[in-house]
């Protein structure tokens, strides 16, 4: 009996650790042949890059990252605070409406805002034709570092908002109420209670924003802002030098790890998990009069800029162009998009849970490393990952060829690498960080006492996981799932490169039009992406809400 118990215990422990390590190795393998390039001696292009490109690119990248990070945090946390702690008109709508900007890919937003503001845009056309007012183009030109910061902030801040809001709503009730009882003003509570306790959530959200900005190619290329990622692409494709471009990617990767490490060090040993067993929603204060109006106007203005205005512009364009693109088979595009996104999101949810649970149980070095490595895919530009994944899958196919032959004697060599499996695998590498972040924040919130209690009462890790942990962090899993789902629907470089023959998604359709300078024609597929994303955001918001009650 005792022996069986030990064996079961070891089995449970092993399956988590082994699975985690297997997953992490799978994540890293495709990137290995890329990382090897880092250690090769620099060539003459590298000297050119260092001399002419690096300095300005680093400056611009730092500007973009720091300001977007700052503004997203300001926007995200102030909105999270308003929505979590106060009641005001439109609150129940804005509560989930403020996640909607995530449904709009930043590069579409960039094209849309430029279309709106430029000389032939609605605003200037109206002023010109109705009032004969000619604006100085300098003041309406969005295509600059500042413009890029605006776009990134408006369409990425929900990463901070959702994670922080979720945290505040469920975690801070006693703290906030105690502070109120002790006579602290709302501003003091915000500064001295909310900010410090939600630091983990804020940092988690902000790091996603920063990684997303570092990785963006669409917005910066269109706006003519030279950044690290434009340098990577220019080196690769302009100079035809993969080695140097991968060196640049590796530099980027180092910076990312540096940032994440710094965050860990800063946070130190502090854990912001719950100290009482009772999860109690916060009682919201109803705002009145001017304050209520201010809260509504502020939140709605951000909702307008981040969702409503671009949406209306796209709808307008859709009316202008729908006749041109009626022949497009949107049913098939939608089906393809959903199929890949749902499948990949589900896999990511499982992988994230396994690794996060392992990292939590096992505070050893290995556990921590596994957790940190989940971010690797998110910090390498999509196109670079794509190439790594192709090499990996072609090798896989070569090794599995005998097996394919066994099943089908006429089988071609490239089976997996011409199938959707490759694309989905790449999605998992790329977006695991987002799912993992959500799950990890969920675990942190719950803390370890339930887990420990359950273990003490004789349940195995696996049993505890299914019976206690998963149930407690379900909202976190769900919110991670939505973020990943929406992200995959917007994703471009991987989809473009890794999809099988004749496999189009909504995003690739949007890309085709936008890349050919037909942004108006891109409006309908864009709208479908936004619609599906919005519906999933709404639907899952309901689920999260129900989970709270």
């Amino acid at each position: 009996m005792f022996v069986i118990k030990i064996r079961q215990f070891r089995l449970a422990l092993n399956s988590w650790s082994v699975l985690s390590i297997v997953f992490v190795i799978l994540l890293l393998l495709p990137n290995l042949n890329i990382l090897i390039n880092v250690f090769k001696a620099p060539n003459e292009n590298w000297i050119h890059i260092k001399r002419f490109l690096l300095q300005e690119y680093v400056t611009n990248t730092l500007l973009l990252v720091s300001f977007t990070g700052l503004f997203s945090v300001l926007c995200g946390i102030s909105l999270a605070w308003l929505v979590a702690v106060y009641d005001f008109p439109l609150r129940s709508f804005l509560k989930w409406g403020l996640i909607l900007p995530l449904a709009i890919p930043p590069y579409i937003a960039a094209y849309t805002y430029n279309g709106l503001l430029n000389y032939t845009g609605v605003i200037q056309t109206f002023l010109r034709n109705e009032f004969n007012i000619h604006l100085n183009q300098k003041y309406v030109d969005l295509m600059s570092v500042e413009g890029a910061i605006f776009i990134f902030t408006m369409f990425l801040f929900p990463y901070v908002y959702t994670i922080t809001r979720d945290f505040l709503e469920k975690q801070s009730a006693s703290l906030i109420e105690n502070a109120r009882v002790l006579g602290r003003s709302p501003m003091e509570i915000f500064l001295f209670v909310i900010l410090p306790v939600s630091r983990a959530a804020i940092v988690g959200g902000a790091s996603l924003v920063i990684l997303e900005v570092l990785n963006d190619y669409g917005v910066v290329q269109y706006f003519g802002v030279t950044t690290f990622s434009t340098a990577i692409f220019k080196t690769w494709f302009g100079l035809g030098d993969v080695e140097s471009s991968i060196k640049l990617s590796a530099l980027l990767l180092l910076v990312v790890f540096g940032v994440l490490l710094l965050e860990r060090v800063l946070r130190g040993r502090r854990k912001y998990s719950y100290t009482t067993a009772k999860v109690r929603p916060i009682s919201r204060i109803r705002l009145k009069g001017a304050k209520a109006a201010l809260a509504s106007v502020y939140s709605f203005a951000i909702f307008g800029l981040g969702f409503l205005i671009p949406l209306l512009q796209l709808i307008h364009w859709a009316f202008l162009t729908y006749k041109n693109i009626l022949s497009v088979d949107f049913g098939r595009l939608i089906l393809n998009t959903l199929l890949t996104a749902l499948l990949a999101s589900a896999i990511i949810a499982v992988v994230a849970l396994v690794i996060a649970n392992y990292g939590r149980m096992n505070e050893s070095f290995a556990g921590k490393i596994c957790a940190r490595l989940t971010v690797v895919g998110y910090s390498i530009p999509g196109a670079v990952i794509a190439i790594g994944v192709i090499v990996f899958f072609v090798a896989l196919d070569n090794n599995l060829f005998w097996f394919y032959r066994l099943i089908n004697p006429d089988s071609a060599k490239l089976v997996l690498s011409t199938s959707l499996a490759m694309l989905i695998f790449a999605y998992v590498i790329r977006f695991l960080a987002i799912g993992f972040n959500a799950v990890e924040t969920g675990f942190e919130k719950v803390g370890k006492r339930f887990f420990e209690a359950s273990r003490m009462l004789g349940m195995s890790v696996t049993e505890t996981f299914f019976k206690i942990d998963v149930k407690m962090i379900r909202p976190a899993i769900v919110s991670g799932f939505i973020l990943v789902l929406v992200d995959i629907m917007k994703e471009l470089p991987l989809t473009l490169l890794l999809r099988p023959f004749n496999y189009d998604t909504l995003a690739t359709k949007v890309y085709q039009y936008a890349n050919d300078e037909m942004i108006r024609e891109a409006s309908i597929p864009s709208l479908i992406i936004i619609f599906i994303s919005a519906v999933s955001i709404y639907f899952f918001n309901q689920v999260v809400d129900r989970g709270e009650r």
Binding site: L414, L496, N515, E517, R520
Partner: protein
Amino acid sequence: MKGKLSKILISLLFVISLAALAGCASSVGGDGTGSNKQQSNAGGGEQVVNLYTDRHYDTDEELYKAFTAETGVKVNVVKGKSDELIERLKREGKDTEADLLITADAGRLYRAKEEGLLQAVDSATLKNSIPENLRDPDNQWFGLTVRARVIVYSKDRVKPSELSTYEDLTNPKWKGKILVRSSSNIYNQSLLASFIAIKGEEWAKNWAKGIVANMAREPEGNDTDQAIAVAAGQGDLAIMNTYYFGRLLNSSDPEQKKIGESLGVFFPDQDGAGTHINVSGIGLTKESKNKENAIKFMEFLASEKAQKQFAESNFEYPVNPNVEPAELLKSWGEFKTQNINLSKLGELNSQAVKIFDEVGWK
């Protein structure tokens, strides 16, 4: 009980990974276009040709359908950016399923050739339909449509008589007047590469330097945005490709149409080397497994019927001299083109990129 749960977990993962595989099999195989299926049928049964392309016009798809209707050969397509497709071809090596590569720039075709990804095609039809300078000297790639990189000017502020050559754009009289997109764009890289080929590196560098000095603003946006900025009065001249201008004139937005009409097209260097042109072109991959079909498809695209549709739908010029360009393009008049072999554009591409960096053309 405990063992059971971990088994459940493992089987769950297994099911998901199976679902992933099944998902691809069913979705890819579902419409009979799956690569698995086509591979196994490559010997007999269904006839296919597999295409990697960075042309994404919906109208191109009609051409593919027409080809299938004519020959019974199905065209399978992967679309993407040319550079990335080339990289993919390279990594897939001899196992690639792709038969043909289409890119919207001769320089990229040259790169594919240099990487050893293409093979020569000996076809009298292709040689007869495509002029010599628009195809590879070793017959590894063939141009399909032509576009010119021209000057678009404000009819209000500039008289065509003031315009002459690309070189003239560096004249201080145009200070603060010139609009052009960033140097990371392939069209600018090919333009500069053509100058290096014709006039030498020194000349090209001075030209780039002169343009930077005359720019109305730092490069931003795409070709169409440059034309809009001219209409808005941010500058007087834009360097852009002809088909974008054609599209502006035919925009679904009346306001864009209107500003298109306030602009004129000028073909530079008519008394000198001629206007810079580039092509969309096609090459047969070295490892092509459907070679016969692929060549048939290439010949189809060069045929008069296909050329007309190919070029007309996107305001490009046909390569086949027997086919007349679209009415709009004819209205701009005939023009003399640079007479270099376009493979030069690829050969000199990285040199051009370096010059841009050195003179600070963003």
